[in-house]
Symmetry: C2
Subunit: 241 residues, 2 copies
Amino acid sequence: MRYELYYHAANQGRGEFIRLPLEDAGADYVDVARETGSGLGAEAMLRFMKDVGIEHPPFAPPFLKAGKLVIGQTANILLYLGPKLGLEPKAEAGRLWAHQLQLTVSDLLQEIQGTHHPVAHGLYYDDQKPEALVYTKHFLAERLPKFLGYFERVLGGAKGGHMLGRSLSYVDFTMFQLLEGLRFSFPRTMRRVEAGYPGLVVLHERIAARPRIAAYLKSPRRIPFNDRGIFRHYPELEEQG
Amino acid sequence: MRYELYYHAANQGRGEFIRLPLEDAGADYVDVARETGSGLGAEAMLRFMKDVGIEHPPFAPPFLKAGKLVIGQTANILLYLGPKLGLEPKAEAGRLWAHQLQLTVSDLLQEIQGTHHPVAHGLYYDDQKPEALVYTKHFLAERLPKFLGYFERVLGGAKGGHMLGRSLSYVDFTMFQLLEGLRFSFPRTMRRVEAGYPGLVVLHERIAARPRIAAYLKSPRRIPFNDRGIFRHYPELEEQG
C-alpha cells in the first residue's frame, strides 16, 4: 500500500514524527504537499481540508491517507502505522504503553510550541516576544527537565536499549527527533544539560546511525530546521540569566 | 474487574473525562485519591507516582489501573476503556476516528489551560494575569470558534445524533464535559456564541438526561467546578471589549 502523508511543505514540524518511521521501514509513501503533479502539492492538501464530503475530516495536518482511511493526529497515525511497519509490540499492554509515551511527547511538543508562541497562534513571534521570554525561562528551568528526566527514567539510563525495552518502536524515532529539535532550538541549554540524560543521547546516536535514517538525513527529503514549525532557534530565548 | 482511577481529589480536571463514561456504563471503579482507607487517598496516588518499581510509570494523572495494567494519558485510557464499556465502534476505522476526535479535544484542553496559565505551570494565575488577558482574548476570538465549528461540522448540526454518527461513544461524554466546562469558564461568551453550535447544545442535553449521568451529576461524586483544574472562571478574562 502506498501511504499518502499530508503535511506542510515548509517545515519538519509534526510531520517529521511520521516520516522517520516510514523512512526507516522503507515504506512506500508520498509526501503530498511537497510533490508536484496531478493531485499533489500544497493546494491538494488545502483542497482536501476544505472538502465537505470527507467522512472523517482532520482538524489539522498531519494526516495520512491509507487506502480508504483518513487518519489525523500525529500519535494516532503512529498508533495505526506501528503494527504495519513492525514498530510496535503485538500485545495490548505494549501498544498502550508505546502510545502513552507518544502522547506525553505530544504534550511536550505543544509546550515547546509555546516557547515562541505563548499567547497567540495567530500572531508572529515578534509580536509576543516579551511573553516568550518569560515562558521559555520557566519552560527550560522547570518543564523540560521534568519531561527529559521522565523519558530517561523510562529508558533506564545509558545501558537501556530502546524506549520500550528490547525492541525498537516508533517511540525511539520520536525521541531521536525530539533531541534533534531541542538541540536546534536550545543549543546552549542542551550542551549544558545533556550529560544528565546519557540514555537519550546514546539512543539518539543509535537511531541516527541506522542506514535508512542516515541516508534520509543526508537526502533532500529531510527539510532543514528553519524559523517555521515547532522547533525554532531564537537565541535570545535562552540567553537569560 | 474493578478499575482504579487515579486523579487529583480537588477538581474535575482531566479525570472527569474518564469518570463520565465509567458512570454511564455503571462500571465498578474506585476514585483512589478521593477515598480513605488502606491503599487509598491522595497519598496513595503520590506514593504510586514515586514508586521506581513501576514498569510503566505515568508522567502525570489521570492514570488507570486495570488488573496488572497501568495506563496513563486521558485519551489513551479512553482508547482502552472504549471497547470494555461498549462505547466505541468495533472496526479499526471507527476506533481511530473516535480517538482522533478525543485527541483533538486534548489539544483544545491544553489551550484552555493556557487561558489562566499562559506562561508558567508553576506560577499562580495572579502572577500571569496580564499574559492571560492577551491569551484569552485571542483564544476566544480565534481558537475556540475554530474547534467548536469543527466539532459541530463533525456532528452534522442539530439533526446529528452522536459524534460518531448513529452510536453513542466516549466522545459524546467528552463533548458534554467540554460544554459544561466552557459554560462555567466563559459564561458570557458561551451565551453569545452557542446558537451557532446547535448540534453540540442538543448533544449536551441528551447526555445530561441519561439516567446514570443525571444521577451522577446530582451526587457528591461530581466535584463542583472551582478555581483549580482546567476549567476556571475568572470574569476579567472575558470582559474585554
